[in-house]
Symmetry: C2
Subunit: 307 residues, 2 copies
């Protein structure tokens, strides 16, 4: 790929990167250690699987790829620190496209203090973005440590991303916020970090609320009880899709909401923190000693979301 | 991707991975810090661009993807510690393929003490492997710190990987070692770590010896002088390709040999270390005050290697 170095230059020019060796420019980057444990995640976003360019601008694609990875750090209670960006570019993908992609990532990277420290650009049959993010967690939030009696909180709302995808697939006119939820999800790092000292477990909702809640329940060896009426399903979603809203919220995925297990005696202090952040939080149920997930008293299966 | 979890299980079953949170199984992994600076690299290997399955077994593909990333850590003087593996699998790529891919990676991962700590599996139009590796460097080796007078050493040999590729492309019968050099390159981590306390700069030869040497020269603001007769070009390569051997060695790429700048007064102690490791090393020239690369007294341009 003769233009590889030019393309790397163009991409990183959008970000304010440190010179080598803290930033790109050597065989690998070198970073100083920070407080807490090193927290790492990687995730790929591939054209035709995770997005199509008909419905997603390059800026949307960049934003969403970074948001999905940031959401994984949020779910660990980690503070974001650095990222590596491996791009696969189809033939004809030029400098302007690269700039648009990077500009979609920039606001999130800035907001969360993410330093671009390395990456890779290669030719590829389709556009692909494989990001690796790192951060530091002083009080990590695992999936396996929820306990019966913990309250189950949702940060953010549920169902809009799935509604946006449904609207794209069926060429429906829907409120723009559903499309935005699908294209520009918001990762909840500050909310997770505020809760981390008190919370017992967390996960982000990428595959669907029931499925991801199921991961916490399984890893912790317990179950959960939900109330449908408590779920943070936006009124616009219930109006627009009265029959499907609950399914979108429970099984839709890609909301990148956060689920947290909070001991009841800590609920008040955590809620105060979230209120101070103007963070949308909802208590939707609690964890229980018996296995399985129960919605309004009925057992439900953790159906997943397929991209 | 409904089988995603099954595929992840199958892949990681080949490795002995730590349970979550040090290994896969949560939203991200959590690692303890070690001595030195954190060293990170990422690299993608994509079907049709970096390999074709006609000439590479799945084991070869796995090995080479991991070796290329390990070689970047070697070039930093880092000790390998952990890796994240993001795989894109085309439809029909089943459990046996996944096992073969992992088994190609296993010996290298074991040999270099690499812990699989996370990853991602997704559908993809072609097979792709995007790995992110991390290690720790107590005395990092940069590109930018070579000085005039430093001796230029090559670890490993040059040209065989290019000869192997040429033979594949032109359906030539060649000694098996050329094909092995192309399919199963060897990263030189121990040699680099042994040299790290004394060496001034390093890079690995992925794009071609002249081009990669050019990166050191440019980053360090100096030049280099080479002797063609000193280059570690295997006799079999000279016999088989008498006219092309030198070009393969200088411009071929993918050898994953290491180039190191060693101050003359440290050469003896470093050579002793390499001898103790039975590591193939060659002094091929030295760095000079004036810019440019000179081969047998003639200036040469740092032509690159295009995949």
């Amino acid at each position: 790929m003769p233009q590889e170095f030019e393309k790397i230059k163009r991409f990183i020019a959008v970000f304010s990167v440190a010179p080598s060796p803290e930033g790109p420019g050597d065989d690998a980057c070198l970073l100083s250690k920070k407080r807490g444990r090193l927290c790492l995640t990687t995730d790929a976003t591939i054209e035709g699987i995770h997005f199509c360019r008909k419905h997603f601008s390059l800026g949307d694609i960049g934003h969403k790829a970074l948001a999905a990875n940031l959401s994984d750090l949020a779910a660990m209670g980690a503070a974001a620190d650095f990222w590596l960006c491996a791009l696969g570019l189809p033939s004809g993908f030029g400098m302007r496209g690269l700039k648009a992609l990077a500009e979609g990532m920039l606001p999130l990277a800035q907001r969360h203090g993410l330093r671009l420290v390395g990456g890779n650009i290669t030719a590829s049959p389709v556009l692909s973005l494989t990001l690796s993010l790192g951060g530091w967690a002083s009080k990590p939030l695992l999936r396996s440590t929820a306990r019966p009696g913990d309250k189950l909180y949702v940060i953010g709302s549920l169902g809009e991303a799935a509604a946006g995808l449904f609207a794209m697939q069926h060429a429906l006119r829907v409120p723009k916020r559903f499309l935005q939820a699908q294209r520009r999800p918001k990762p909840w790092l500050e909310a997770a970090q505020a809760a981390a000292p008190y919370a017992r477990a967390a996960i982000d909702v990428s595959d669907g609320m029931l499925q991801d809640l199921g991961h916490i329940c399984q890893a912790s060896g317990i179950g959960a009880r939900l109330e449908a009426s408590a779920l943070p399903i936006p009124a616009a979603l219930k109006r627009c899709f009265p029959k499907q809203a609950l399914r979108f919220a429970l099984c839709g995925g890609e909301d990148y909401a956060l689920l947290l297990a909070i001991p009841p005696q800590k609920a008040k202090v955590v809620e105060q923190q979230w209120r101070a952040q103007s963070c949308p939080f909802t208590c939707v149920g609690n964890f229980i000693n018996s296995k399985g997930i129960w919605l309004d008293g009925r057992r439900v299966s953790a159906q997943g979301f397929q991209h």
